[in-house]
């Protein structure tokens, strides 16, 4: 507990410096509300009940997009490693779409899927898909021959080897890919909600920014930061549980 508090003490220091910089007039409160005001704004939003439903709407989009990407991405990546024909078919698609900044697709998803949830979910799905496909492919590709041979001479069929050996052996890389995708999902979530949306945390940031209610805008930004932070910490905890055999 004390150790955790110490570890995050730089954050406290940052908050104090933020507060001090505005109070002393070093930074004008017209462009940066003091930290205390942002906290107050956060409290107001939280008790009026607006913040949590909005944050939840955003989280739901991220979770659905990421969930779909995990299901399809790991399957595609592992099948690519397993079967040369599938690899030959999918590889050019990956090479084509990998360098594309996925935010460039925001207008397209809005055009095709409207202003609501679906356009955001599809965008997050597309953005998260490739890193997961690539990491699953690399993980499955890198499985040592002798592990597969061991399993085969211990009575496993080719199909059993896929589930019993390739998937668990590739798991560290698959999970690392998913962690990258998790970060991407937040970037795409907020930026797509910025541009056009009817609700969500990104929508709120944009709205308060336009209205000039900066303490609330910063409150929302801090909320996104916290959401991203906790999502990543939770995932790391999960990873450590699943990969306990590596300790």
């Amino acid at each position: 507990m004390v150790a955790t508090a110490c570890r995050y003490s730089p954050l406290l220091l940052l908050a104090l410096m933020w507060e001090a910089a505005v109070r002393t007039g070093l930074i004008s409160d017209l462009v940066l509300p003091p930290f205390s005001a942002a906290v107050e704004g956060w409290w107001d939003l939280a008790v009026t009940g607006d913040l949590f439903p909005q944050a939840f709407a955003s989280l739901r989009r991220a979770a659905l997009g990421l969930g779909l990407a995990i299901a399809l991405g790991t399957t595609a990546g592992i099948l690519m490693a397993w079967n040369a024909k599938i690899r030959v078919f999918i590889n050019p698609l990956i090479q084509m779409f990998y360098p594309l900044p996925k935010s460039a697709l925001i207008p397209v998803t809005i055009l095709w899927f409207g202003l609501g949830d679906m356009s955001k979910i599809v965008l997050i799905f597309i953005g998260c898909l490739l890193p997961i496909v690539v990491s699953s492919f690399n993980g499955a590709r890198g499985v040592e021959d002798v592990l597969v041979w061991s399993a085969r001479s211990l009575g496993a069929s080719r199909r059993q080897v896929l589930w019993q050996i390739v998937v668990p052996a590739a798991m560290p890389e698959i999970l690392t890919g998913i962690r990258t995708a998790l970060a991407i999902s937040f970037v795409l979530l907020v930026s797509s909600e910025f541009i056009i949306a009817r609700d969500g945390i990104g929508f709120m940031i944009a709205g308060f920014g336009e209205e000039g209610v900066y303490d609330r805008m910063f409150a929302c930004i801090m909320t996104v930061v916290a959401m991203g932070f906790f999502a990543d910490r939770l995932f790391q905890l999960f990873m450590r549980r699943v990969l306990i055999w590596r300790e």
Binding site: D145, V146, W149, R152, L154, G155, R246
Partner: protein
């Protein structure tokens, strides 16, 4: 074909075909028979294709030319009749020792209760009692190899194929493991094909040592290495020393050829 041969290799040749490189001629017209319950060591300089031959018998790679029969049946793929022990253990790192040993038993359909009992029996046999729930990462090299041997023995294969199983271990551990392997072999009496480049290890463990030439690997000579006396003391006996030095002299030229080929 000869009756009683557990493994019959006939005129097998093999090339490695690395992508975008010239194919490597690994085995040339190799013929070899291993009798039922015989312990044969395959000895040769590194890179002579002895491991390749073992993998072909294991069914891990397609056979280009010639044929391999195990108990009279043509080898077309891997199977639980041939248990394999690899130099680098090849344990499943995400499974505990018990999980590793249970894996094959579950695959071949041994009922749960019985599988547990059999797994425990072999874990005890290789002196890993108390480490059932340890992951391979938490074990020393010698313990990993003992776990791998238990995993292979548990499914009771007719034939043990061992690819330099003690090559990654320190000298002391290797000595202990050799003793354990001999005592297990005397109790279970399996057919063993044991690949090594260690002359003393081959002469000590095996009933017969088969020597291979440098690449492309051919069978050079087969030497009977049974002695009247058992136990590690035999290694100091004149007849042991004589046999080992004879084999060493035969192999030495091949080893030099390998080193020279590498240097050029």
């Amino acid at each position: 074909m000869a009756t009683g041969a557990a493994i019959a290799v006939e005129n097998v040749s093999h090339h490695y075909r690395p992508p975008k490189k010239r194919p490597v001629h690994a085995l040339d017209q190799v013929s070899l028979e291993v009798g039922d319950r015989e312990f044969v060591a395959l000895l040769g300089p590194s890179g002579c294709g002895k491991s390749t031959l073992l993998y072909l018998i294991g069914g891990f790679m397609p056979i280009e030319s010639g044929s391999i029969r195990v108990n009279g049946n043509l080898v077309t793929g891997p199977g639980p009749d041939r248990g394999v022990v690899f130099q680098h253990f090849a344990l499943f790192p995400w499974k505990t020792v018990l999980g590793n040993v249970l894996y094959g038993l579950e695959n071949i359909g041994v009922p749960r209760e019985e599988a547990r009992e059999r797994a425990q029996k072999y874990i005890d046999m290789v002196h890993l009692t108390g480490f059932e729930d340890a992951y391979p990462n938490q074990l020393s090299g010698g313990m990993k190899q003992r776990a791998a041997i238990a995993r292979t023995l548990a499914i009771d294969p007719d034939i043990l194929l061992m690819d330099e199983p003690f090559g990654a271990l320190d000298a002391q551990t290797r000595g202990l493991m050799q003793e354990e392997l001999l005592s297990i072999w005397q109790r279970t009496r399996k057919t063993v094909l044991f690949v090594t480049h260690d002359v003393r290890e081959a002469v000590y463990l095996a009933e017969r040592v088969v020597m291979m030439t440098a690449r492309p690997g051919r069978i050079m000579e087969s030497v009977d290495t049974r002695f009247d006396e058992a136990g590690p003391g035999v290694m100091d006996r004149p007849e042991f020393v004589e046999k080992a030095s004879y084999i060493w002299n035969r192999i030495k030229g091949e080893a030099i050829a390998t080193v020279a080929a590498r240097a050029s």
